[in-house]
């Protein structure tokens, strides 16, 4: 086996689904309305996808729901025929798609293992010979004679995963195995991943668990609307995925209304926003420099107003507050119609999650309130690391032994 030729080779693969608006299901409908045009949309699930996976690589595929991951896996598995392009694969293939391999609920474990083993390329004799090992791995020894319909969903997934990992495949396609099953089974999956890796198998692994991607994958790929958005180191792909995910989630979670707004309005906070990367942004990667800004418009004469903002997390815990006074920025005298922008640049040390900002403005001396708009702006802090605290401070640790032990 030469290094040059990859285990999986995907070239210009395009897959489209025609989605009729009104599905003609029966002959009668056909006969009664032979010329009725049922409009249809073409959904391009995969668009010119190109990649290669060398032999022995653990390759992660991530993407949001509907990004084409499962379609890609089904094309690789030979369940869907691609519309354009070419897929080449070396060696025997084993698949674990849509939470299982399609068991017959009326049959007992033995028959289902037999059928699925054959479907995955074993001969009936080979499948029967491996039956005990498969059952043992799935920890279902006590349930061998039970019909599959009486299995819990976790048991079914265990059995399916066990079958697919026992057919001596060279290439494994695994979709979302970690989404179900308890912690013990997940650990077992991880053990299998390690074993398969050591055996030099090629594995394509679809998941939403970025931790698992970072832990196992040699490389990963982010799909977005059927296209490859990025392909490379797992950390890079994971970070981009998290960022992408929240960008899209944003419009559904507009900040709450402005009912709590208070102040005498001698000046107004007309706008406020976060910036990252030199532009307005509501996705703030952890650890990077970010800016909060608010734009002010004055209605009357105002001397030395105080501008401040408060950051809170989802549970209304105050995270951070600062004013121009604290920061040593002087505001000065303003007249009607004047405008100004107050900005605070900070390093984003907050824990991943949603944050809210409340901008406010006070008269000189701290009272009364000119304008205060609670939770006017929201943003998502993205990051893979989650310490459990409100912030993730950059830290180093040390450990120094204060006395030597007697023996070396």
């Amino acid at each position: 086996m030469s290094e040059a030729s990859p285990a999986i080779h995907v070239k210009d693969v395009t897959k489209e689904f025609v989605l009729p608006h009104e599905r003609v299901h029966t002959l009668k409908e056909r006969a009664l309305h032979p010329f009725r045009r049922t409009g249809s949309d073409v959904l391009r699930a995969l668009a010119d996808v190109n990649f290669e996976v060398p032999e022995g690589e653990f390759f992660g595929i991530v993407g949001r729901n509907g990004s084409g991951k499962s379609t890609l896996l089904k094309c690789l598995a030979g369940i869907y025929r691609v519309d354009r392009g070419e897929i080449r694969m070396r060696g025997r293939l084993s698949t674990f798609i849509e939470l299982g391999v399609g068991f017959n609920p009326d049959l007992a474990a033995r028959d289902n293992v037999l059928i699925n083993g054959i479907m995955l390329g074993l001969s009936p004799r080979e499948a029967l010979r491996r039956f005990d090992a498969i059952i043992e791995f799935a920890e279902l020894e006590d349930f061998v004679d039970l019909k599959l319909k009486n299995y819990s969903s976790g048991m079914q997934v265990r059995l399916a995963f066990s079958v697919m990992s026992h057919v001596d495949a060279d290439v494994l396609l695994i979709d979302e195995v970690l989404a179900v099953g308890d912690a013990a089974f997940q650990q077992k999956c991880f053990d299998v991943f390690h074993r398969l890796r050591d055996e030099g198998k090629t594995i394509l692994f679809v998941t939403h668990d970025m931790g698992a991607v970072a832990r196992f994958c040699d490389r990963a790929m982010l799909l977005e609307r059927g296209r490859i958005e990025v392909i490379g180191a797992p950390e890079l792909v994971g970070a981009r995925y998290v960022q992408r995910n929240f960008e899209r989630a944003q419009p559904e979670d507009q900040p709450p209304g402005d009912e709590d707004r208070v102040g005498d309005r001698s000046a107004e906070i007309v706008d406020a926003w976060f910036e990252h990367d030199g532009r307005r942004n509501d996705v703030l990667p952890q650890g990077e420099e970010c800016v909060f800004r608010m734009r002010l418009r004055f209605a009357t004469e105002l001397d030395n107003p105080i501008c401040a903002f408060l950051l809170e997390d989802e549970r209304h815990h105050p995270l951070f507050a600062i004013s121009n006074e604290d920061a040593g920025a002087i505001t000065g005298t303003h007249g009607p119609g004047d405008e100004a922008v107050f900005g605070v640049t900070f390093r984003n040390v907050f824990a991943p999650g949603r944050i809210y900002a409340t901008p406010w403005m006070l008269h000189d001396g701290g009272a009364p309130i000119v304008d205060r708009r609670p939770r006017l702006v929201t943003a998502i802090v993205t990051g893979l690391h989650r310490s459990g605290g409100l912030v993730d401070l950059p830290a180093t640790a040390s450990y120094d032994r204060m006395s030597e032990r007697a023996e070396a």
Partner: protein, 276 residues
């Protein structure tokens, strides 16, 4: 190890051996399921045709009396019912692809294994039921003859027809969901349009209609089975059809249906996972 091109699903899936293993395993497990799935198991498979036989036999010998003049009428009736049951069970594959949706959408495998396995299950039943027919025939005084050797050939011909229909119907059903009720009506019509409960020579219709009935492959096969196995004095399929040449039509239907079924299934197989 050369890199194989992944072309998507197909009817036979590239590997004949895998297709055969799979069809056989699916058929055996399905058969076992019926065999051990209920308290009386296989008996139910037998009771169904036997009950139909008992009812029809009672009606047509005691009330309607069309069976009285036909030699070995009970044996004929039972054999016909058993053969028809095979035809109906085998073509019951119409919904098989849809029923196995879970498999079809999750694994690449030779798609044709599914309808073929249904026909295989039906043929296991047929073999067991035929043993009952055999015992019944011998007990009723039907004498073994060399022409009995025609029986496997006739059953094989019927099986080819059934496999063709199973492929055609199961592939059609993926797209058109009213194929199933339509086929149930066709089966019902076929039951009465075929000489199953009556003997072809006893019905009071014109010669043309009698010969027309024999153009149906099911009727021709059953008629020849009767002539070869049960009653040599009964007209052979050729005689009933009005000449051997006319048997070319049912023969052509069998071959045509099988070819059409294979062609259509093969054409649809790659897209079945999406259309389901």
């Amino acid at each position: 190890m050369p890199a194989a091109r992944i072309t998507g699903p197909s009817a036979l899936g590239g590997s004949r051996r895998r297709f055969l293993y799979l069809a056989a395993t699916l058929a055996i497990t399905e058969f076992k399921l019926r065999f051990f799935g209920s308290v009386l198991g296989y008996l139910w498979q037998l009771v169904r045709p036997l009950m139909l036989f008992a009812v029809l036999y009672f009606v047509f010998t005691k009330f309607v009396k069309i069976g009285g003049s036909v030699p070995h009428y009970p044996v004929l009736l039972l054999a016909n019912i058993v053969l028809y049951t095979f035809f109906a069970d085998g073509t019951g594959a119409v919904s098989s692809m849809v029923d196995r949706e879970g498999l079809v959408r999750k694994i690449q495998f030779p798609r044709m294994a599914v309808p073929v396995s249904v026909v295989l299950t039906a043929s296991f039943n047929l073999v067991l039921n035929m043993l009952v027919v055999l015992g019944f025939a011998l007990a009723s005084g039907v004498e073994p003859r060399w022409s009995w050797l025609e029986a496997p050939f006739l059953i094989a011909l019927l099986a080819v027809l059934v496999v063709g229909l199973a492929m055609l119907l199961s592939a059609l059903y993926v797209r058109f969901r009213d194929i199933k009720p339509i086929w149930e009506v066709v089966l019902q019509v076929a039951f009465y349009a075929t000489p199953i409960i009556y003997a072809i020579e006893t019905i009071d219709v014109s010669q043309r209609i009698r010969e027309g009935i024999m153009l149906s492959p099911l009727a021709a096969i059953l008629q020849q089975f009767r002539h070869a196995v049960i009653d040599p004095s009964a007209p052979s399929a050729a005689a009933a059809a009005g000449g051997s040449a006319r048997l070319l039509i049912p023969a052509a239907v069998v071959i045509g249906v099988a070819a059409l079924g294979f062609w259509y299934f093969d054409r649809e197989a790659p897209r079945m996972a999406e259309d389901l």
